[in-house]
Symmetry: C2
Subunit: 314 residues, 2 copies
């Protein structure tokens, strides 16, 4: 198991989306620099959400215009609607902006209505329009939410997800992210779905985006990896996710912590392409920026291989 | 994957061991009753530790004498030394006491010295004496700590663990618990070791005891299950473990949360023999007794299948 994996760092967008306090642009830039320094090659940078809907990203254009670009590093911006894509395009025309934009869908109609304020049919029409506007300017990232189960509708037929991935492929997407939005996946279901998706779409990168709602996030990543998936979303400190979206508003659900994901792959001997010390420094910087202890256990305990190596030397 | 698994509930011993406030005996008895009511069949009840060393268990004999016995339920008491076994025997002769006693060893000499104040050689001599005293009166549970790596010595040769399991077998143990004491296991290592141990010792029940030090606990349980292990230790709320034992005293490390373990197996369709609603009620009772929110994510979010079923009905 020595295949290289790509960990897409989601702290700056999915992570910060639900933070009550606005993180100043300079601090975001500093933390994004720590991510590129640590070797992350795909990084969620911001969202072109409506500034009144998601105040965390009022600085989307300002942030992207100030973001130092480096060959081989891809910054992603979320585009929830056509207006967002137009803003992304305007930034691109001004000579800066995101490399990737993500377009959102839900595998269930009810979640689509609640999260995107559109039925699946309506949302797919919007996505087609957005993809047409964006074509040629960005790498498109399709997102399929609640792919492993919906808190409103229950089980999701995997064929819906497979068909949605095919639609994103037909729209020219480079990546499709399979979202376990409220943590209803399990390792067996994850293995089954990724074992179908990965070989079925060789022209796409299939990305696993698990939430750790019930503590199964890392186990599901492991299962997806065993099924051939090599691209994973996670967020430093396990922040973000959909805190109000588990079950009619109760409970909380967060991203899988990047530090724990890195520890998993490092322990397995799987190359992440990351500078592990720099990952842990970036982790500390994320805690410093948010001013609280975040949820990664590895951030507290250290990477297992680091402990083992130090013990060997001692 | 429909084999039945046994989840051994460790809250009342491994969980409470490091609590600063003494939990009154009546409350322990109430929570143990909630565990038996939920269907747990192996339950860590207490420890015959020296009362001055571990004040949490000064009431070991009182607790065991008041514990209602039921056919098919096995209560375990930890016995760290010969004196402890003698106390366990005295209780047994008085007509009550534990069904199982656990005898502790470490796979590394350094951890043995720190945790048991004896070299491996000395500890094995003690364990042989303890097993001889206990023979015929209890089911013996051998424990091999730091089986996947030692914070002081680094990597552990799996052959040491295999040999230690064989020694416990030769001493008449019914169970041998493989402890990842400071969370240095990963799913590949877990799968390798349990795939060796389970078929090699058909006369024993091999128990997986993972700590969630780096967030890999559930992934390791999944891997051990895939390797044939069917018996798992966990503690309600993920409390306990060895909070001061990660790496020369820094950080914290806890048991895997029973609620998250139950959610894993329930999601996989693996029978735990447990009443799931009663498990969640027992979980709430553990939080109530300790007066704080504990670490299980499933305790906050609910069991995935419960959410999916309710959504189907809605």
């Amino acid at each position: 198991m020595n295949d290289r994996v790509s960990i897409n760092e989601c702290f700056a967008r999915d992570g910060l989306q639900h933070e009550s306090a606005f993180v100043p642009t300079a601090k975001k830039l500093a933390v994004l620099a720590s991510f590129t320094g640590a070797g992350f090659r795909r990084i969620e940078a911001t969202s072109y959400s409506h500034p009144k809907q998601v105040p965390a990203f009022t600085d989307a254009s300002e942030l992207l215009s100030a973001l130092p670009r480096r060959e081989g590093i891809s910054f992603k911006a979320t585009c929830p609607n056509q207006k967002a894509v137009q803003r992304a395009l305007a930034d691109a025309e001004a000579g800066y902006g995101a490399d990737e934009i993500s377009l959102l869908t839900s595998a269930s109609n009810s979640h689509s209505q609640v999260n995107l304020r559109a039925s699946r049919l309506e949302q797919w029409q919007k996505v087609e329009e957005m993809a047409a506007i964006a074509a040629g300017n960005f790498t498109l990232v399709g997102v399929v939410s609640v792919a492993f189960g919906c808190p409103f509708e229950g089980a999701i037929d995997p064929q819906i997800v497979i068909d949605d991935v095919a639609r994103f492929r037909d729209l020219g997407a480079g990546y499709v992210t399979i979202g376990d939005t409220t943590g209803l996946a399990d390792p067996a279901a994850a293995k089954r779905l990724f074992a179908e998706l990965v070989p079925a779409f060789p022209e796409l990168t299939i990305v696993a985006h698990f939430h750790d709602t019930r503590g199964l996030g890392i186990a599901n990543i492991m299962a997806a990896y065993e099924a051939g998936c090599r691209s994973f979303d996670s967020a430093m400190g396990g922040v973000g996710g959909h805190p109000n979206m588990i079950h009619y508003g109760s409970g909380s659900t967060g991203n899988v912590a990047t530090e724990d994901t890195v520890n998993l792959f490092d322990s397995l001997g799987v190359d992440t392409g990351l500078d592990l010390d720099a990952v842990m420094e970036a982790s500390a910087e994320c805690e410093s920026i948010l001013g609280r202890t975040l949820l990664s256990k590895t951030a507290r305990a250290g990477l297992a291989n680091t402990i083992l190596r130090e013990a060997d030397v001692a």
